[in-house]
């Protein structure tokens, strides 16, 4: 090669490498946008709201007086709704996942089920709210209640649970299944004695992620009519005069954390904005904790496979 060609090539390579370095920086910057936004969000809410958080905040009802308002009805409502959501979504989601992985034949019916699941994962949450409004609130007559809310959110996170279950089940090697069948086990015995126990950690990860999503959902719950100003608790069983029935709480009006935050955010007074920040901070901590746990679980799982 001629010396000047070599020089030209070296210049070319140097230029290309500069672009490489530039892009490396660009990538980090792009990530930084996300990091900075997250920090700004977190720190801003912490600064605004942390001062507001004390024991009273958790034990008071909302009030027209900002200084006395609390999230009692909101977090109790969230907990109760989550109980219904989990009770519906977890068994149904796992059952569906098990069916698709261990039982379903490869035919058009199975294809339709799979397409539906993928599709439902992309439906906007407010459409679930409309569905719940028409179906649960009016058609089935459950009213604007915790039951309706819980079922709506269960449908919303069902695809998450199903996909997580399927991935966890797929990680089990075929040899284990064959070993079980060769012992004379039936399909259900293989599922309950082997498949479910071995995939339980992966399934749990998916359930946690789904529940974290459900806790933060506002739109569907607003749509079915959760009221934004609730200054009482749903009737817990055997409390009150006359004693509430076992399931009365399911049908009571209610509110949840995100809606309480929404309500406060919509009020112009600065003091309510502080309350909103406080509620938001609590909410973010909850979802961070849950998502963080799921991520950690998944990380541990990857290190721990013992086939």
């Amino acid at each position: 090669m001629q010396p000047q060609d070599l020089q030209a090539i070296r210049a070319l390579i140097a230029r290309a490498k500069r672009w490489d370095a530039f892009f490396g920086v660009l990538g980090i910057l792009a990530l930084m946008v996300g990091v900075l936004t997250f920090l700004a969000l977190f720190v801003d809410m912490a600064i605004q709201g942390m001062g507001r958080i004390d024991a009273d905040f958790f034990t008071h009802f909302p009030s027209r007086r900002a200084g006395e308002a609390g999230i009692l009805s909101a977090w109790v409502g969230t907990v109760l709704v989550m109980v219904v959501t989990a009770a519906a979504a977890v068994p149904l989601g796992i059952a569906a996942g098990v069916y698709l992985e261990e039982y379903a034949p490869k035919n058009w019916m199975t294809d339709i089920i799979e397409i539906n699941i993928t599709n439902l994962a992309g439906v906007p949450s407010i459409v679930y709210g409309l569905l719940a409004l028409g179906l649960f609130v009016y058609e089935f007559g459950f009213g604007q209640s915790i039951l309706s809310a819980g079922l709506t959110l269960a449908l919303l996170i069902l695809p998450v649970v199903i996909v997580a279950t399927r991935e966890a089940i797929r990680a089990i090697p075929q040899m284990i299944r064959e070993g079980s069948y060769a012992c004379g086990a039936t399909t259900w015995q293989t599922v309950s004695d082997h498949i479910l126990p071995y995939s339980s950690a992966g399934i749990l990860t998916g359930v946690i992620i789904g529940m974290a999503r459900a806790i933060g959902e506002t739109a569907p719950i607003i749509t079915i009519g959760a009221l934004t100003f609730i200054a009482f608790l749903p009737p817990l069983p055997y409390t009150g005069e006359p004693p509430a029935g076992m399931f009365d709480w399911l049908f009571a009006p209610f509110t949840v954390m995100p809606i309480q935050m929404f309500n406060w955010t919509s009020r112009p007074e600065a003091a309510f904005q502080v309350n909103a920040a406080a509620a938001g901070f609590v909410l973010v901590l909850m979802t961070l904790a849950m998502n963080g746990t799921a991520i950690w679980l998944r990380y541990r799982l990857r290190k721990n496979i013992k086939w």
Binding site: P173, Y181, C183, G184, Y198
Partner: protein, 261 residues
């Protein structure tokens, strides 16, 4: 195909005009094969000859996957049941015929639970009975001395050879009529292999054994009868010594002398 008939041996099972299709592929062609009781029969042949396919037909493993089709019969004696019949429940077949796989596949459970599983699916619940039978099975698999003090250890913590013996114990626990071995030593080192081979020779006193092996010397060492297969067909079947020393077919001879495969 020339069979040397052994009138003084009872037949435990036999394939009659058995054909098998994987989807459109005709994998096993008109297989006729007697399996003599409490004898070791080995299936040998080059890769792709269908020996594993034939073995897995005995315990209806192919039923687990779509697109497979059995034709013909595999008759089990003395009750003359056709194992391949649609009226026969594959679960029932697998309760009478156990299998040991190529790569040891202990469950992610304790040693005890691995062996006990065969019993649990049969509804055995009483702890004393389970304890007894697990111990017997582990003894039968020549593993008891090594694990009796660590029955609650994970099965996966055993060495390769021990894991395979654990799988054999699991297969023995249900007191099967036939045990199928699918290349049981191909994933093991020579010492572990020797112990498994010794075990197989002991086991045949109690149970009929059908073994697939790609290692001809192994077949010569441990089996009473040998069947040579090629491209889905049963080429030759006979007493092992005869097949190895004086094969009747040229194809068999070519394989045995290493001219191909």
């Amino acid at each position: 195909m020339n069979t040397i008939v052994e009138p003084h041996l009872k037949t435990k099972a036999e394939c009659k005009n058995f054909n098998f299709h994987y989807g459109a592929f005709h994998a096993l062609k008109n297989v006729n094969l007697p399996i003599y009781e409490k004898q070791v029969t080995s299936l040998i042949g080059p890769s792709g000859c269908g020996k594993s396919t034939l073995l897995r037909s005995f315990n209806r493993m192919h039923d687990l996957y779509p697109g497979n089709r059995y034709e013909g019969e595999i008759i089990m004696h003395p009750d003359d049941t056709n194992l391949l019949s649609k009226d026969v429940d594959p679960i029932e077949v697998r309760m009478r015929i156990s299998m040991v796989f190529q790569k040891p596949n202990p469950f992610p459970k304790s040693v005890y639970e691995n062996v006990a599983y065969s019993l649990r699916v049969r509804g055995v619940k009483a702890k004393s009975e389970l304890d007894d039978r697990v111990q017997q099975a582990l003894k039968g698999a020549a593993l008891w001395d090594e694990v009796s003090h660590r029955l609650n250890d994970l099965g996966a913590n055993l060495s390769g050879g021990q894991q395979q013996r654990l799988c054999i114990a699991r297969a023995l626990a249900s007191e099967p009529e036939i045990i199928l071995f699918d290349e049981p030593t191909s994933a093991l080192d020579p010492i572990a292999t020797a112990s498994i081979e010794e075990l197989v020779t002991e086991l045949k006193e109690r149970v009929t054994i059908l073994i697939v092996t790609h290692n001809m010397q192994q077949a010569a060492r441990i089996s009473d009868f040998t069947a040579y297969m090629y491209l889905g067909e049963m080429i030759e079947f006979g007493v092992t010594d005869q097949v190895f020393i004086k094969p009747q077919k040229k194809q068999t001879e070519d394989y045995i002398t290493g001219r191909f495969g």
